[in-house]
């Protein structure tokens, strides 16, 4: 009898063959991003246009396929052209017309349309190779800047500088072999570099195409499969893509592609050679902490459930993702659904559950659809259901939809919701790990926590724990949004500073405005000012700064954001999402909101700040669940770091950012107004008076402060104060 692992390996061989035949044998492969964000940007039309073009040219060896979101949402739709032996070319913001042109020029005539590409360096596509030198912190003392310098010197000396692109990557968790570098598209990695080895690489490999076998690292890692595709782009190079390893790389709707990239090997491995307790011990040793916000050690949570004598136990994947401004879990499920299923299976095996649920927001229809397909496909292949891979172990997965209640992300509320009741939290203990769904031991893990599991099993706990900081291991995915130049999904090693995420990876503030604050943790977190930008992202440092890691929403705010308004926004959210079970949360948040409303309406009084602080601390201490306990955080952190803005609203009746409409007035500067009548025509309440070519005026009594006049005046005659 073949073991589960042997069976899986056999399946993989067949899948690789099939994927190769279907997709890779063709000399050119076109991949089009396909996710909620991509489709909103028009990816479906682009896909169809390529399809039509391919049909028109029968006999052409071109394969078209879909991949998940790669993370650069602001540049979508993204199209990648992969040709054998060449650096993949990535086109951004493609529309059907651009697709036609790409097809004509690039596919048919081999000419790269540089103007449409996503590139950092001019002339990138003349380059033959990309060298990525690992620039992680741990390697710094190993002189990796010397390595970079050595490469530069050597390629210049050899006269091949225009053919080589040199980039730097985040820590790849290979510090014991460091400094390392990758050479693409060859896919070779060299280890323990010295300036002398670099010289040899340049002379032999880069110039004469001889790989230097004696210096290569041949180990295999699940991570950074995206490197061959995106390694040349700075935005991706600065990341360590561990849970997002397949997103934007494989076709999320193809089980074969997942199998080809060692999919389901982790579950096959544990079914073959590990006891549940060994799996728990491995995860404990890895130091993995929950990515859903709390940061509770995952292995420890499993241990509680595993220790229960019950026969029936449940495993739940929390994909409720209620933080309004976060989309990590959606992207992960849309881009790589099988990884989540595999993670759920690994956890289920460890705690002794035979049934798993994915509780997912109904607002994510595409993610639900891809999960359903993934479940059906893996069941059909014997990877899910009964007697998985012939091991005798059974595990089934069912999807349950949320219905738009933020509080259902809380563990006990989520359980009630699956049970078919109102999603109200219950007091803990008993913890779900002891008595959860239908009274049985239940473990709830976040999507991203689960996505780490295959990596931990296959690449090892030691390797995993070599990444990150002392108490926060591995990586964290952030959904970068707001007023930042590069919006999208980023995954960085724990310990990376906020500044690196916002300015390095995120490209800084849009339209060169001034940075004001970065918000992490959503409605449960806080707003950190510029002084805190050097805070490393790890659970404890963010807590110490007054915010929380949260599930990964990261919203960047600029000078045009009013912090009192932001605090009010979050409180309005938590107040309307409060389930109403306990008084401090239900009534307290309402009272705080009323005060904030008063302040932004220009009616703030002396003592309001103190009242907010007092109420905040009562709600924090006396609420039953995390929603109430964290609700005051956005207000308290803005009071701490942006107290001056509150004072400006209360005492000077001014909104420094010009957001709170009650505190803003629009005026026409008579010096600049030329009487073009544009504002008068557009004002929705007709409160602007003036004859053509005469100075106009605003009737302040009627003005609703909509800002239209400011936007339409071409002469900068309208001022806001």
């Amino acid at each position: 009898m073949p073991t589960s692992l042997e069976k899986l390996q056999d399946m993989r061989r067949k899948s690789i063959f099939k994927v190769f035949e279907e997709k890779f044998r063709a000399s050119i492969r076109i991949t089009v991003g396909s996710a909620t964000c991509e489709n909103a940007a028009g990816a479906t039309d682009v896909y169809e246009r390529f399809q039509q073009n391919i049909q028109k040219h029968a006999g052409l060896e071109v394969i078209l396929s879909k991949v998940g979101c790669a993370g650069r949402c602001d540049l979508e739709p993204m199209v990648t052209i992969v040709s054998h032996g060449q650096i993949p070319v990535k086109y951004m913001r493609v529309n059907p017309e651009k697709a036609d042109k790409i097809f004509e020029d690039h596919i048919l005539h081999g000419k790269v349309l540089e103007d449409f590409t996503m590139r950092r360096t001019a002339g990138l596509y003349n380059a033959q190779r990309v060298i990525t030198v690992c620039g992680g912190k741990n390697c710094f003392d190993k002189h990796c800047s010397d390595i970079e310098k050595a490469f530069l010197e050597n390629i210049q000396k050899l006269g091949i500088a225009d053919k080589i692109i040199l980039t730097r990557s985040a820590c790849q968790g290979l510090c014991q072999y460091g400094p390392v570098c990758y050479v693409y598209p060859d896919g070779i990695m060299y280890q323990k570099l010295t300036p002398d080895i670099v010289k040899q690489i340049c002379e032999e490999h880069l110039l004469k195409n001889h790989t230097l076998g004696q210096y290569t690292w041949t180990g295999e890692r699940l991570t950074n499969r995206s490197f061959p595709f995106f390694g040349d782009v700075y935005f991706f190079g600065k990341q360590l893509r561990l849970t997002l390893r397949n997103c934007g790389v494989i076709d999320p709707e193809s089980l074969d592609e997942y199998l080809a990239v060692r999919g389901y090997e982790a579950i096959a491995k544990i079914l073959t050679e590990m006891k549940p307790q060994q799996v728990i011990d491995t995860v404990k040793k890895s130091g993995l902490r929950g990515r859903g916000g709390g940061g509770f050690p995952t292995g420890q949570k499993w241990q509680f459930a595993a220790n229960q004598p019950d026969k029936e136990k449940y495993m739940i994947c929390n994909a409720d993702e209620g933080d309004p401004g976060a989309f990590m879990d959606r992207s992960m499920i849309e881009g790589d659904p099988h990884t989540i299923l595999e993670g759920l299976m690994i956890a289920g095996y460890a705690i002794g559950a035979s049934k798993g649920f994915v509780y997912i927001r109904a607002e994510y229809p595409l993610a639900v659809q891809r999960l359903e397909k993934a479940i059906a496909d893996s069941k059909k292949s014997g990877l899910l259901g009964e007697n998985i891979l012939g091991s005798g172990w059974n595990f089934d997965i069912e999807i349950r939809l949320g219905a738009g209640a933020f509080v259902c992300g809380e563990e006990t509320a989520l359980i009630h919701s699956i049970e078919g009741s109102r999603g109200m939290p219950s007091p803990r203990p008993p913890y779900p790990a002891i008595s959860g769904l239908w009274g049985k031991p239940t473990v709830i893990n976040n999507v991203e926590s689960l996505a780490n599991l295959p990596v931990i099993i296959l690449d090892g706990a030691d390797w995993f724990s070599s990444i990150g900081t002392e108490k926060s291991k591995g990586t964290k995915v952030f959904a970068l949004a707001g007023k930042v130049a590069n919006t999208g999904l980023v995954e960085v090693p724990m310990g990376t500073t906020l500044r690196e995420v916002v300015f390095d990876v995120g490209g800084g503030i849009k339209n060169s405005k001034a940075f004001k604050a970065v918000q992490t943790g959503g409605p449960a977190g806080g707003c950190l000012p510029a002084e805190c930008l050097d805070t490393p992202v790890d659970y404890d440092s963010l807590n110490a700064a007054g915010s929380i890691m949260g599930s990964g929403g990261m919203i960047v705010m600029d000078e045009e954001t009013c912090m009192v308004d932001v605090a009010k926004f979050f409180l309005d959210f938590t107040q309307s999402e409060s389930c109403g079970k306990c008084t401090p949360c239900r009534e307290g948040t309402r009272a705080m909101l009323a005060i904030l409303q008063k302040i932004t309406d220009g009616k703030g009084e002396d003592g309001d700040i103190e009242k907010l602080e007092r109420l905040g601390s009562i709600i924090k201490n006396a609420s039953l669940c995390g929603l109430g306990q964290c609700a005051p955080n956005p207000v308290l952190t803005t009071l701490k770091y942006f107290g001056h803005e509150y004072r400006a609203h209360i005492y000077s009746k001014k909104c420094p950012a010009g957001v709170c409409s009650a505190l803003v007035t629009y005026n026409i500067d008579p010096e600049k107004c030329v009487g073009c009548t544009a504002c008068k025509k557009k004002c929705p309440v007709n409160c602007i008076t003036g004859d053509p070519k005469r100075i106009h005026a605003i009737n302040q009594e009627d003005c609703i402060k909509c800002g239209t006049c400011l936007a339409v005046c071409k002469f900068n005659a309208i001022t806001k104060s």
Binding site: T36, C37, N39, A40, A41, C73, D74, E76, E321, G322, D323, P324, G325, A326, F327, R330, S331, A362, E363, Y364, P365, R400, L401, G402, A403, G404, A405, F406, S417, I418, E419, G420, S421, R422, G423, M424, W438, A479, L480, A481, G482, K483, T487, G488, L489, Q519, G522, G553, I555, M557, T561, V566, F569, F570, F573, C579, P684, C706, G707, A711
Partner: protein, 174 residues
């Protein structure tokens, strides 16, 4: 299933007319065969809402009988979750995202603009039944903020000036 079966009485012992379409009734019966059948209440409500666009008391009554769950509990559950609506919504449903990323990028102004153009408030429907507006909390497309969803189509990076154009796409005439 035969078409005229739709109007037959319910197949369980109750005598209520079958207001629910056959496929939903069949789904409920399927759920009733599974362990913890009452846990399928929310999936059933989703199916009804997807079919009719809202939950009318008549259907809830029928669900109560078919699933053997007290009607009061069903109402309690249905009212708890924001996605369930008890009034018919417009033919075109406009959802303006008021999640953090969209709010920071000015979706509040978009909401105002839609309300002003259509002359209705949040969660209301225009008298001709063509449009309704609601706010939502994040579609997970935050990188494209501000986001507006009309029916199933996602519009990203929407500017206030585009509001009229979007409405016009769905036949709105001022």
């Amino acid at each position: 299933m035969e078409k005229d079966e739709k109007n037959m009485t319910c197949c369980c012992s109750c005598s209520s007319p079958n207001a629910l379409p056959q496929e939903i009734v069949a789904y409920i019966h399927e759920c009733m065969q599974k362990p913890h059948s009452e846990s399928y209440l929310i999936p059933v409500l989703h199916k009804i809402q997807n079919h009719f666009g809202y939950l009318s008391p008549v259907y809830l009554e029928e669900v109560a009988q078919l699933m053997h769950i007290p009607a009061s509990k069903i109402t309690g559950v249905a009212t708890f979750y924001h996605l369930f609506s008890f009034t018919p919504r417009g033919k075109n449903r406009i959802s303006v995202c008021l999640g953090t990323a969209c709010y920071v990028k000015g979706s509040g102004k978009l909401m105002e603009r839609f309300k002003e153009k259509l002359g209705i408030k949040e969660n209301e429907t225009t008298p001709d039944g063509m449009f309704s507006i609601e706010c939502s909390r994040c579609f997970g497309a935050c990188a494209l903020a501000p986001v507006v969803v009309v029916n199933d189509k996602v519009y990203g990076d929407v500017k206030p000036e585009q509001v009229e154009k979007i409405l016009a796409d769905y036949g709105f005439k001022k």
